[in-house]
């Protein structure tokens, strides 16, 4: 019996030691190998990331010292091309757009960029209807931990199976045989849209769809406006800012005179107030009932515009930034 007891004691000891050791090895390994190239707690030099979805890559892009300016937004800012902006402004832009990201998520991405670039030359922030919602809740899919300001939240988030599954790609990067992600974050997703099954339905909706008239925020309270203000307040005075409301097909715009339109207009006015109150900032608003927004050919769907329109928008945003710079020098 004493022998059996000793064997079971040894079993529990072995279990405990092996559990602590395996957790330490795996978690410690993840911290050191820095799977998403965040630069936190690792002795490794920046490596860049293998090709992957923007949420996975942008924590690395946001700390890349070759850039001095950033585009913060969701899929509706993804088509703004850094090369066009660079040429027109003399800055070096990185596009940090993440699909499906709302104000709270964008604030996190912005925070990472700002920690690594305390005095950016220019920042472009994409806003849309999401910023007009009555409340701002955390989304389920965005990895808040990867863009966390605190180390504890980052470490807690790092211990997850998805990170282990990602490690083969990290090893490929470290070995130097991975297909690397574009450093500037530009992604022309036209080919993705062309292959999507809903493309024809989107064109039909844009042609025949009824505009919405009911407001989803009848109280017209816009908590995200404070988020934008916080983001602008965090920037040094020298940073030029463009807040961009992207093109929106008219079928997605609210019906004229409706409660939905009142909400949208009040929200846009509140955002504009915050932007105009900051020197060196400009609102570039491409929404509304305008020629290019009536042309379905310019859009993949109601809210995602195609490259020709994107390039025009990029040029206009660059002009806006140049104008703010000029105003600052006079």
């Amino acid at each position: 019996m004493a022998g059996a007891s000793a064997r079971w004691r040894r079993f529990s000891t072995t279990f405990s030691v092996a559990a602590v050791a395996s957790l330490a090895v795996l978690a410690g390994g993840l911290v050191l190998l820095d799977p998403y190239d965040t630069g936190r707690l690792t002795p490794l030099e920046p490596t860049g990331m293998a090709e992957g979805p923007p949420w996975q890559v942008n924590a690395s892009r946001a700390r890349d010292p070759q850039f001095d300016s950033a585009i913060i937004g969701n899929s509706r800012a993804q088509m703004l091309e850094p090369a066009i902006l660079d040429e027109a402004t003399g800055s070096r832009f990185v596009n940090l757009s993440i699909q499906g990201a709302g104000p709270l998520e964008l604030q996190r991405v912005f925070g990472v960029f700002l920690r690594h670039h305390p005095a950016p030359r220019a920042v472009i922030i994409g806003v849309d209807e999401w910023w007009c919602r009555p409340e701002q809740k955390r989304g389920d899919t965005f990895p808040y931990w990867l863009y966390a300001p605190g180390t504890v939240e980052y470490l807690r988030g790092l211990v997850r199976y998805q990170t282990l599954e990602h490690m083969p790609r990290r090893f490929a990067v470290l070995r130097g045989d991975a297909a690397m992600a574009r450093p500037d974050g530009y992604w022309d997703y036209t080919s993705l849209y062309l292959g999507m099954t809903g493309a024809a339905a989107a064109q039909r909706r844009m042609r025949d769809g009824e505009r919405r008239s009911q407001s989803d925020n009848p109280q017209n309270t816009f908590p995200a406006v404070a988020i934008l203000k916080d983001m602008l307040d965090a920037l040094p005075d020298s940073t030029r800012v463009a807040v961009v409301w992207p093109p929106t097909h008219t079928s997605y715009q609210p019906s004229p005179g409706s409660a939905a339109e009142t909400t949208l207009r009040q929200c846009q006015a509140a955002l504009r107030d915050v932007v105009t109150a900051r020197p060196g900032a400009r609102l570039v608003d491409w929404s509304g009932d305008r020629d290019f927004n009536r042309d379905a050919a310019g859009f993949h769907d109601e809210t995602h515009y195609r490259k020709p329109l994107a390039d025009r928008l990029s040029a206009d945003v660059a002009d806006g930034l140049a104008a703010t710079a000029e105003a600052a020098t006079h």
Binding site: S5, R7, W8, R9, F11, A18, R156, R160
Partner: protein, 459 residues
């Protein structure tokens, strides 16, 4: 806190084991107060506003029991049981019963400022009170001190979702020096294995099935048409999800209790291998079945007053058992369906009709699967959408997701219970290392965003 959380597995449990070991070794008289304190801390972590309810519930019941023991006033026990059921009724069923009164709406009782949230474990600890009080009045249960009674109710491995423990199964264990037993090391090691097995069942088998279940039932709740493929995929997946979720939780509870030197009763015995519905209820949530039998079915007359009364007692017991699971008519219907089917089974046996084992298994399994729809759907409309799909009244559909179902079915139907497997395990070092590595990988799975609460926490 959840058993499947970092805070519990990496902080609360190791800390509790350490201080419990120190107390057991150097200050045995501190062991039970310490366990009670840890249990309150565990319970409060979820929502501290409900901790006073648990403390008050223990204090009131213990006081009434003590007065009863001195004054022998039987009505005191009746009063105590009524108060317990009233508290449960107010928190859990106020909205449900109000819905039967035209013009009256009560969403739930917001006593502690937490909205209409249900105090966790209230269904379970209410039944613990009832078991003790009924047996105390009958002269079966002893009078116990406040700390021991508090621990009987609030012992953290079982306070939230059982198993439903009889006082006679646990009170005597509180008097022991668990780490002084000759089999203490074996118990502890098997507790570790059982915890790992429960975590694996919940995290690796049960949780992945949620992705097969939730979207379909959500579509049904939205009134969408459900295809044959969707209906069967969601219902079969839920059949195994709830088993691995709840039995996984129970394995963890049993394993954690063993780490603290306490043996809790088993709750599952490969229920999906049952050859009859009666057999199923002897293998599924066994401690609840036992409670319903001893404290509801037998007091209602049981099988001692003729067949008609027995059938009535069976039906009422199961319908109330259904209601216990949730404040909704779908739960009552689920229980009632089981009550009716158990009655049919009783008549079949009484008539001496044969039932081949294979046919008995198939009928039982299909019946259980079909009735899980009522349990999961949330409304009769949603259940009807699922039934329409399962019965082929809509379209066939495509894209059956079956892999996780097949794995779960194989483990549920072929494999031994975790309890049996763990108790056959040898004290080998290799097994300890494999279990530890599995434990670590499960921790990483828990770290993923798709980490689910236990289904039975809502009851």
């Amino acid at each position: 806190m959840l058993f499947n959380s970092f805070i519990f597995l990496l902080l609360f449990l190791p800390f509790s084991l350490l201080v419990h070991w120190l107390a057991e070794r150097f200050r045995p008289e501190w062991r039970l107060p310490l366990l009670l304190l840890l249990s309150f801390a565990f319970y409060s972590y979820w929502d501290w506003r409900f901790a006073p309810l648990l403390v008050a519930s223990i204090g009131l019941n213990w006081t009434l029991a003590r007065i009863f023991c001195q004054a022998r006033l039987g009505w005191l026990i009746t009063l105590a049981i009524c108060v317990n059921l009233l508290v449960l009724g107010v928190f859990k069923y106020a909205g449900f019963f109000a819905s039967f009164v035209p013009g009256l709406t009560m969403k739930g009782v917001d006593v502690f400022g937490s909205g209409d949230a249900l105090p966790l474990g209230i269904s379970f600890f209410t039944f613990h009170h009832v078991m003790y009080l009924v047996d105390l009045r009958a002269g079966r249960a002893p009078q116990v001190g406040l700390v021991k009674y508090g621990l009987y109710i609030a012992f953290f491995p079982q306070v939230l979702a059982g198993p439903l423990v009889r006082w006679s199964e646990i009170l005597h264990q509180f008097d022991e020096r668990p780490y002084a037993r000759s089999d203490a090391a074996e118990r502890f090691a098997r507790g570790l294995l059982l915890l790992c097995a429960g975590l694996a069942k919940k995290v690796l088998i049960g949780d992945p099935l949620a992705a097969y279940v939730n979207p379909v039932f959500q579509e049904a709740a939205n009134g969408a048409t459900i295809t044959l493929v969707q209906g069967w995929q969601a219902t079969l997946a839920f059949t195994f999800q709830i088993y691995f979720d709840f039995s996984g939780y129970t394995d963890m509870a049993l394993g954690i209790a063993l780490l603290f030197g306490v043996v809790l009763p088993q709750n599952f015995e490969t229920p999906y291998r049952s050859l009859s519905l009666q057999d199923f209820w002897r293998r599924w949530h066994m401690t609840l079945s036992r409670f319903l039998r001893d404290y509801l079915y037998i007091p209602l007359g049981g099988n001692r007053h003729g067949l008609p009364l027995q059938l009535c007692a069976l039906f009422i017991t199961m319908a109330l058992g259904g209601l216990w699971h949730g404040a909704g008519m779908t739960f009552v219907a689920w229980g009632a369906a089981h009550g009716l089917a158990l009655g049919v089974g009783l008549l079949w046996r009484r008539a001496g009709l044969p039932m081949p084992a294979a046919l008995g298994w198939a009928l039982t399994f299909l019946f259980v699967v079909f009735t899980w729809v009522l349990f999961r759907a949330g409304s009769f409309e949603a259940a009807l959408r699922i039934y329409e799909g399962m019965l082929g009244l809509t379209s066939i559909g495509a894209g059956l997701k079956w892999r996780a179902i097949a794995i779960a079915a194989a483990v549920a139907l072929i494999g031994p219970t975790a309890w049996v497997a763990v108790h056959k395990a040898p004290p080998s070092r290799l097994l300890a290392i494999l279990a530890a590595v599995a434990f670590t990988l499960i921790l990483f799975k828990i770290g993923d965003d798709a980490n689910y609460e236990f289904i039975y926490f809502q009851f």
